[in-house]
Structure formats: C-alpha cells, structure tokens
Homo-oligomer: 299 residues x 4
C-alpha cells in the first residue's frame, strides 16, 4: 500500500495551534511573502490580459452560464464597456442541494463559444479535483471558490497545473489563512496565483457579507500576489457596487470581478447582486471619475 | 461530452439569495427535518455502537495517528475508561502546507491494528474524493472536517457510500447551512449522518473557537439527526473540557468526541487541547456527577 | 478648574494596544483574578439569597414591569416554582427611540410592592448615573446591561455604592474585557460583583445571540466572581431555554436569570424569548433531572 | 414621584425582537432616513468647517491631549498640511481601569489654547452626561465613542444641546442600529449629527478592527447624515492608513478623522495606529492622487 507523497508524514513540529506563531506574519507563507523587491508580481492570464500590472483588470460576466446565446451576448456587451475578461459559472457551489448548481460541462462549451466570439479570456470555478482536467481544456484561469479555500486536496491538485488560479478568500478566513492557502499552490509548483477578496461573515445583516477592503491593502503589504476584489459577493447589493468598486481600486486592488446579467431579476442565481448592462456601464464610467477633493484649509 | 447527473441544471428557481427564504427554517432541509415522530433517529456505527440512543456515545483518541504502538495503546486505555469508539487522524487538514498533515495511508493500517486490538470502531477524517474508497476499507465512520462542510463534491461522493458520516459544522456555518450540508448526504442516498458541533469563529480570542452549545439544542429541535459535540476543538483548552463536556450532555448532545494523547506536549498536532490519560479519566468521572442543586426558595 | 480624581492622568504607560499584553490573561484584572484560594467568592444579595454558594440561584421575572398587579402576580408565581429573586425592568435600553422603554420610576414602586408581597429580593437595570440613587432605594441588586458594560462613567459611579452589581457581558466583549469592566467596579471599591453571560453577536441568525457557555467556564477559571447565565437573551427562543439552562448549570454557572411573563405574546418587550408560567415550571423541573448516562463500554 | 418624560411608557407595540421588522430598513429611523431630496444634508461645525459638502473634511490630532505645548504644536502642523479640524481626547474610555484615561478637564483648557493658536475647530469625546456642560464650553463638536453608541442616557442628553455630534459606530452595531442611535439624537431635537465608521469586531486578528467601508456607502444610501471614516481605529496600523483613507473617500465618506502624534512610539495611548507628521503629510498627498486607470479592452 503506497503512501501518496502529498500525505506522507512531514516530521516538522507544528509551530503553534494553527501551525505557526501568532505574531510572525511574514515567514509562515515564505513564497507568498514579498521578496526583496516588495512589488506585486503580475500574473499573465492570456496574451491580452495581465493582473497586477499598471492598470486595473476588469472581469465581468454572469453568476451562472445559462445558455450559449446568453453568455455570448454578455461577453460582447461587457467587452464593449471595458471588461477584458469573462467570468461565468459552469459548476456552482450551492448551500442547498435543491438549488440550481450550474449547467456543468455543457456550460464549458458555451464559455468556449463566448471566448471565440469575444476574444475575452475566461475564468470559471472548479469545485472538485475530478473536474480539473476538463475545466483546464476550456478556461484560461481557474477559480477556487470561497467555500473551497481550505479544500487542501483541491489546492494540491491545482498546484500541478499550468493555468493561473483565482483564489477566493474564505468567508471566515483571516488574511494569514488566505495567504497560507495560496502557499499550498505556490509550494506545490503553481506560481500564478491571484487572490480575490469577496467579503467575510460578520454579525451585520444589512449586506450579504462584510466587504473587507482593508484586507486588500493588508494582503498587498504582506504578499507579492495580485489581489482582485469582488464587489458583487462583497456586498450583495447592486446599488453599492459602484461605490465599493471605486474604493477597491483606491485601496490597491489590481482588478475587479463583477456579476453582470442581462436581466438580473430572471437570473438563475445571484440576481439581487448582479448588475444589468446599463448599471455595469454606469459602474465602469464611475471608475475613471476623479476622487472628491479635500476641503482646503484657510490660510 | 456527457454532463454528470449531479451537475445537471435543476431548473428550480432559487428561493432567495442563499436558496431559500430566511424565515422558513423547516422546509429547506426536508430530509434532515423532523418527521411526524419528532424524535432523534439513531445512527448505528457498529454492532456495539449507536449514536443517538438512550445513552451518550463517547469517542476518544489522538488528533493524529503517530504510530501503531501509540494508537493501540491509546485505544486500550480510552476503552478501559469508558470510550466506545476510537478517533484518530490519518489525513489531516492543516492551515499551512508546511505543518504535519498526518501519516496518510499507513495510519489507516495502524488504525486497523488498534481496532483489532481494542474492538473499538473507528472514525477518521476524509479530505478528498480520491481517498473515499481507501478509507472505507478501514474506517467504521467517515468524518467530514469543518473546512470541508461545504465541499459539495465530497458530500456528493459520500452520499453514495454505505458508511455513516460524522459531519462537522463549518467554522462560519449557520445551523441552517449545516443542515443543508447534511441534506446533500441524505438526498444523495446516505441516511446515516451524525452532526458534530466543534465551535465557530467569533471575535473572542480567549479560546480557540466559540463552542456553540445552544446550536446543539437548535439542531436537535430542527432535525432528527443525532448530534455529537467536540469540546477539544470547541474550546482548545484542556482545562475547560470537563465543564463543557458536561454542558454538552446537558444541552442534549448524543455523544462527545474528545482528543486524548498519552503526552499532549509531544503531540504532532493539537497538543494544547488534548487531554492526557489521567485528565481523560477525570473528565469521564465528571460526566456522571449530579448537577448542582437549585437553591430552595423559603416558605 | 479642578480635575475630577477619576479622570486625572495616571501616568501608567499603556501595556499594549488595549492596555495590556495579549497573552497575559491573569494579571490585568488583578482584583477580579483568583487569589490563592482559587474558589468562587459568594456575593450576598439579601438575608435569604447568595450567589456563588453551594446551590444555583434562580432569578425570574418579566422583561419589563408593566403594572403593579402584573409584577406582584409574577413574583408570587415564580417564587412558588422555585425562584428566589425577582427581575423586572423599569428603565429599559431600546435600540429604537420609538420602542417602549419601560415605565421608569413608577415601575420601581411596583417592584417594591412585589418585593413586599413575595419577600423576593429584586434586581433591576440602571442605565444612567443620574438614576443610581433612586434605584438604590428600591433594588437589592443593580444590573448593568450589555450595552453599558463599557460605560465607564456608570461603572465608576456604581463602584461607590453599597449594593451588589450584576454585570452583563457586552455583545462583542471578550472575556478579558468583561473581567476588566468588573475590575472598574472592584478597583473603585465595590467588591460585590456578579458576572452575567447573555450571548454574543456572531454571524448566526438562527438565534438572537450566540450563548457562550464555554465563556462561563473560562470566566470561573480566571476569576473568583460568581457567574449567572441568561438563557432568555442568550438564545431568544422559548423552546431552547430548558436545554441551555441545564447546560449553564453543568458548565459551572452559579445562577440563572430567566424572563417569565404571564402572557408572552402580549408582553411589551421580549415576548418571543419569555416563558409563560407553565413553561417556567417545566424548565424548573428539568433542572433537577439527572444527566443522560454514558454508554457503557463492552468488556 | 414624577416619572421623567423620557422614560414614560410609550404604549407602542414593539414591531419585532429589536423593535422593527428585519426587512424594513427605511422607516424605523424616519428622521435619519432620506427625505425626498435623497441628498446628504451638510452639518456646519464652525464658520470655516462643514461636513457633508462638496469637499472632504480632514480632521486630525492625537489620541490623547498630553500637554498644552503638544496639542498646540500638532494643531499648527496638521493645519499646515491640510487638516481643517482638530481632534484630541480629554476624557478617554479605556478597557482597563489601570490604563491612562486622559488628562480630563485640564486637557479641555489645552484644546482651547490650541484652537486659539490654530483657528481650527475642535472635536473631543464626551463619555458621561455629567461632563456634557463642561465639554460644551470648549468643544465645537462632541464625539460619542464607539462603546457609548447605545448609551441612551447620554444620547438623550446630547439631543438637547446646540453643538453637532460625531456619532461613532459601535464595534458590533449593525448599520440599522447605528442609524437608530442617531435617531435618538434627531428625535430628541439635535439635528446636527455626523456618523463615524471606525471598524467592527470580527474574527480577523491581523488588524485591530475590520474597517467596514461598504457600510459607509450603505449608511449614505439609507440616510441624509454625513459620514466620516476613522482609518486609525479602523485598521490600527500606520502602514495601511493611506490606502484605506483613499478608499474611504472613494466609497463616499464626507471626511476623515486621523490620529497624528509627533512621536507615536511615545504616545500615552494608541501609538501603533498614530501617524507621525511626515506620515500624515504622505497620507494627505496621496488623497489627491488619481485613481489607477482601468486596463483598456482591445478592439
């Protein structure tokens, strides 16, 4: 009975109750941490798209891919408004087994059609080690969802592929735990990792999550990995997405990933937080507006 | 390209932003919910052990299986003190990729030796769909860890096996989300599910987690599934385990799962929360002590 | 312009960002901490009632005092069922300025009537330094509500009175912060302090609060102060109060404070968490039932 | 025995367990809510300073006033760098009774000196109803600290004064509860209220608090009250203050309140989160830098 390498005993002594000293924020994730340059190291997704460079990368698309026509249409529309990358769920994690959980493999084909039509690279979620090879055939970037941030078997598998990973922060993961999840990918051999802040669970019920924008700044201070922000899950409210998207850029995010649906009220998932096309256009326009000036002190 | 059944579009409309109405606590998990009997339905683990019956089921053992000798020794000792089931980790989820993550498959062999020596049935964690078949050869019950509570691919796979499942509550899962995770197992065909409360993440840093004992009572009110409590992860402090174990029984838990190690300060994982053998003996003795009486009112 | 003594500069250097080192859990609250005896020091409320002795002290009564007849009636009924102390709000903190906030001073008169009729000592909340003298005329014990746990002006004033204090834990207060709030009372001269756990705010919305029973055990481990548990606010659900009350006793609480109303659905405040008289009788009966036995190991 | 008007029974039926229906976010705070204009109504602090107008109001100063020389020096320096208002604590809430709690009344005199020297209006915290009259003699604006957000006696007293109020959000207050605390001031007669977001308590320990910038956007969506953000308490880390200050402006805050100290490592309180003068200069300069551009889509 052979012991798989990934699970062999590493006789390292644990450094603390969660694996390292509370106070030492720099060494536990030695590969995710800044090197001497202390600069963000950009991640290349395709010939046209890099995340972590001089400009903000805008990723947009529906929560779920619902049909070929729908995803092609959205891809063309969001591209015309400034998005450079397409998101769309094929395999959807759902709290209830009775909820719509994505069209699965057929949605991957629809995404391929949309990519061909729009020339936008595609990011889609992978929920299971079994699906990795299949999704790699279709996607330019694979997303690890918030609920899988500490699915270590999945992380170890994704560490061996040649595609960049978008690693969402878990709903109760500290920044330290998030960087250590990234460290699973980096130490396993996949250096092309982008972090994604999407809100954490707190006592506040006025929004779907508490969008932890300061954590974007903290992650960038501690790590060379690019960070993308997801205002759709971060707030769960269409009306706030413009404001928090601007804030995400101001705080240092390298990109935004936004849910857009031609008709949010008919969306099979995440309707209340999806923008329709005119709303997305408004959000995009707002991103280039100047910051409000500071009241001048009197002489 | 065939679409796997589990991921086919179910054209059910989502009922709300997480799949069902906030107020309706009884219908979303229709299989986990109480039937007309409103009684806990016991789960049989082995010829000798049932969880959810008239008496409390005590499960004990080390965080990690460290050697054959060690696990056989602990099995015999905890059995002599009243445990009826053995726990021990072979595949360990660890926040850091550099922490000891279990002996893996060889630990399963050691667990088999300990089961043969002690006649105690064994529960051990499964972290990945790939490991399910292997672990089923050795374990009497498979544990889904807190970080995998919403690993839906794993839940769907475990729904198809013939072994009972111990489903830990996620560190930021509501009771509703926990029962819906159980519903994945039940609706997929595995009716032998036991819930396990192990503490949630809150602002409190004086203990490892906030042990949510009221959630045990709430889960039992909402569901027919037995509930086990894990005071070791629930508090992370040896000194509190006796008190909170008694409280767990008082609140309605059907069993306890406790970390015991012959020498906690040398444990490869979870030392600070593991009991040594005399401490475990003390905790067991405390479980049968009567509750403190109520001050009599004067006439 | 004289500087009040309590606000004079104490040139003590702060020990950390919140006044003391994170790891030192024993010294910051030097008066609340255990002395050499490491035993709970009982607090005497009246000739008949002590909290922290050999038996559990049961405190019961309505959220708000609604009339003289109502409070006299409840006092007699809860006494006949085993309560030894009466609770009832005269001044009620309310989230909204438009909610019923108690009958105020007239309710104090009604409490006096009920005390005379039932011979039960009375605890009622004080919300403001201005009300301290007035409430001291009527109450045997003064309660500091959760939202005022860090109202330091109120704590400093209550440190100078000759009545015992019931200090509720704030909804986001760590055990350390709670004990430091008690330290304000102790260091100011009032040694008769009883702590009260009433639930904390977390992400869980299935109950009104997360009832932190392990914190009762932790507070008793760290301090000589008696601890009372409030299952009514702790869960906000009538149906759970029996179970969590038993758990509170099992975990080491010295008393319980329970909301009882002759007709909860007509209560002016806190109806959903108040017990009616038969329910309270059921809860009291349950407190003396033996703990469920542990499943015997086979030979 | 007269019943004070503020505590008389209002026979209004509570609308829910916290006084109003969960879903109705607009009506419970009818005065704080937007009127037909749906615009922020500016609050005038002095002849020179308004909060909520076309420009950002920058408030700066030390956590605690430590001497006359120190506060005069800081006032002049922060003014020269763009601050239009001075903050400084005279009465300081402290978790431990043994921590430095401010110089009290003498600090008010020092603040007056600094105001005269710099012509900056002053905001300082009021912790107790007893101190209201005294502080009103010296301050242009009174701050209600986070721990007093639901000190309803204090709110009711402050509702009767003629000075504007800076109302900090409690560490576990929802946006709804925050607006209802403001409603106490508004309904009591003081319409000059500014909200201040300063971070909430969550599981994250990498920063002092979780700075809830999306809540700034939500509060502005729900209410006409101006909102100021406090990045010093919001993060507790000097190195993040520049980034989160920009984000606060981008998300819609009307002002910033920042802790500045000539020598943070010698500060009597809040050193780790205070900026020194060059750091403050850097933060101010960053506020007018343009937002990073969005990556252009290819044709």
């Amino acid at each position: 009975m052979a012991v798989p390498e990934s699970t062999q005993a590493k006789k390292t002594r644990p450094h603390g109750h969660d694996g390292f000293p509370l106070k030492d924020l720099s060494r536990p994730y030695r590969l995710a941490a800044h090197g001497s340059a202390r600069a963000t190291r950009p991640v290349r997704v395709s010939d046209t798209v890099t995340i972590g460079g001089a400009a903000i990368t805008m990723i947009a698309g529906p929560c779920s891919v619902e049909s070929a026509e729908m995803i092609v249409d959205i891809a063309n529309r969001v591209k015309s408004l400034g998005a450079v990358m397409l998101r769309g769920g094929a395999f959807k994690p759902r709290t209830s087994p009775y909820s719509f959980s994505g069209l699965g493999a057929s949605a991957l084909g629809f995404l391929e059609t949309a990519r061909a039509a729009s020339a936008l690279p595609v990011v889609t979620e992978v929920m299971s080690t079994e699906d990795v090879d299949l999704i790699c055939e279709y996607a330019d970037m694979l997303q690890v969802g918030a609920r899988n941030m500490q699915n270590f078997a999945l992380l170890r598998r994704l560490a061996t592929i040649k595609k960049p990973i978008l690693l969402k922060r878990g709903p109760s993961a500290s920044v330290k735990e998030w960087l250590l999840a990234a460290e699973y990918l980096l130490s396993g051999g996949n250096t092309e990792v982008v972090l994604c802040e999407r809100g954490i669970k707190t006592f506040e019920t006025g929004m779907r999550n508490t969008f932890d924008l300061a954590a974007v700044a903290l992650a960038k201070e501690l790590s060379h990995l690019p960070v993308v922000a997801d205002p759709s899950h971060g707030t769960g409210k269409q009306s706030l997405i413009g404001a928090v998207s601007r804030a995400a850029i101001a705080v240092g995010a390298d990109g935004l990933i936004v849910e857009v649906h031609p008709c949010p009220e008919r969306a099979l998932s995440d309707g209340p937080q999806s923008l329709d096309i005119p709303q997305f256009e408004g959000v995009m326009r707002g991103l280039s507006a100047p910051l409000r000036p500071v009241l001048a002190a009197q002489a």
